[in-house]
């Protein structure tokens, strides 16, 4: 059953918030992880792979947000 009118608009705002807020959250998390990763790599370049994995971990939050947004937009 597709949402119509005002409900569709509110659902779209909800989807936008889900992606936007998780994006900001991930960014805040990545700020410190990224700084630490670059700092550690300055001393030892061999840890690039490990540092990259740590960098990516906060990004998973955005994926959760994206999934919620897709559910709101297409499954409701």
């Amino acid at each position: 059953m597709a949402l119509e009118g005002e409900a569709a608009g509110i659902a779209a705002i909800g989807a936008g918030l889900a992606v936007g807020l998780t994006g900001i959250g991930a960014g805040m998390g990545e700020k410190d992880v990224g700084a630490a990763a670059v700092g550690a790599m300055t001393e030892d370049r061999s840890i690039f792979g490990t540092a990259m994995i740590f960098m990516v971990i906060p990004e998973t939050i955005v994926i959760f947000g994206l999934v919620i947004a897709i559910i709101i937009l297409f499954a409701l």
Binding site: M28, V33, A35, A36, V38, G39, A40, T42, E43, D44
Partner: protein, 349 residues
């Protein structure tokens, strides 16, 4: 909420850098190996452990123990300088204030060296240009002949006003200790007052430095007691503003009959347990070594509890300082043919 505060400091970046550097410091097994080596072998060994650039740079001018001693201090100064360069905001301020102690150290080296008739090269070997004064400023100080000129120019460079009575006491007795004690006191008092207590990391740093003052005072009392100096005479040398030892306790410790009778008061202190054995046996050297080991452990513990603060940086600097000290102790000990067990006892591991 999302305002990026440039004044706060880049803790994550700097702490990650020092943690990576800390993993490269020499371990106990390295010292064990070095205890079986001669000075040239030690030089080669430390070249492979991160001192290669300084060893290569100085190899043309110096050799043997001189090369090793100069290279280790130069390396330490460079490492501390690079940490300071990578820090920003309040972290920079705190690291910079902590590194000021090397200005005091350098002035002490220059004054003491000149009083023993050491030449400029001899002085440079023991300098650590890690404080606010650059290598050029230190060169200027070395170039002066009289102590008056050195003190006057150091005062201008480091913004220190030597009180007239201190200068008069120095001139009358010729004892450099008066100047050294004044500088040491002024360094810690400035450091404690310079810390802005508006944030959690600066609070931690404040507590940490005040505990360091406690240890410094306790060490001074121990050393003076061993020389048979008590009471008011001891109080002159002590620094106010410690965390666990207030002025009343300082007076009680200063007036204690001997080292043994300090034990009951010392038991109330945080490091009481560590030095208990040494105090009971009246062993000053052992007590001082125990204090240093406690200092290292404390820094390690603090840095784990508060990873995004200035403490991991200070922890690294303390460890680096002890690494350089240990290398020099081993090299000097082996050069003079000291027993390996005695040298090992002098190391802070």
């Amino acid at each position: 909420m999302f305002r990026r505060n440039r004044g706060k400091g880049n803790y994550a970046y700097t702490v990650a850098r020092v943690k990576a550097k800390k993993s490269l410091l020499l371990k106990e097994e390295d010292y064990e190996k070095m205890l079986m080596m001669t000075v040239p072998e030690i030089s080669r060994y430390i070249s492979e452990a991160g001192y290669s650039k300084e060893m290569a740079d100085l190899a043309g001018r110096l050799s043997g123990l001189n090369l090793l001693e100069h290279a280790t201090y130069l390396n330490m100064a460079k490492v501390f300088g690079s940490i300071l360069l990578s820090a920003t905001g309040e972290l920079y301020e705190m690291v910079s204030a902590y590194l000021d102690k090397w200005d005091v150290w350098n002035l002490k080296v220059i004054l003491r060296g000149k009083s023993y008739g050491l030449d400029a090269d001899g002085l440079r070997e023991d300098l650590v240009p890690a404080g606010k004064l650059s290598a050029e400023s230190l060169e200027k100080l070395i170039a002066f002949d009289s102590d008056d000129d050195i003190l006057a120019n150091f005062g201008k460079m480091a913004h220190v006003n030597f009180p007239q009575e201190i200068l008069a006491a120095y001139k009358a007795s010729g004892n450099l200790g008066v100047i050294e004690d004044f500088l040491e006191k002024i360094h810690y008092e400035r450091l404690i007052h310079s810390i802005d207590l508006s944030s959690r990391p600066s609070h931690l740093f404040h507590d940490y430095i005040r505990e360091e003052v406690d240890m410094k005072n306790f060490e001074t009392i121990l050393k003076l007691k061993a020389e048979g100096i008590h009471g008011e005479q001891v109080m002159k040398y002590l620094i106010h503003g410690g965390r666990g030892i207030d002025d009343r306790m300082l007076a009680v410790l200063a007036n204690a009959e001997d080292i043994n009778s300090m034990a009951s008061e010392a038991a109330q202190l945080k490091f009481g347990e560590e030095i208990k054995g040494a105090l009971e046996t009246n062993d000053v050297r052992e007590a001082v070594l125990s204090l240093r080991k406690y200092e290292r452990e404390k820094a390690k513990k603090f840095s784990r509890l508060y990873p995004l603060s200035v403490i991991p940086v200070i922890d690294y600097m303390i460890n680096k300082e002890y690494e350089v000290r240990n290398i020099r102790v081993i090299a000097r000990g082996m050069e003079s043919g000291m027993d390996r067990d005695i040298i090992k006892g002098l190391l802070v591991i």
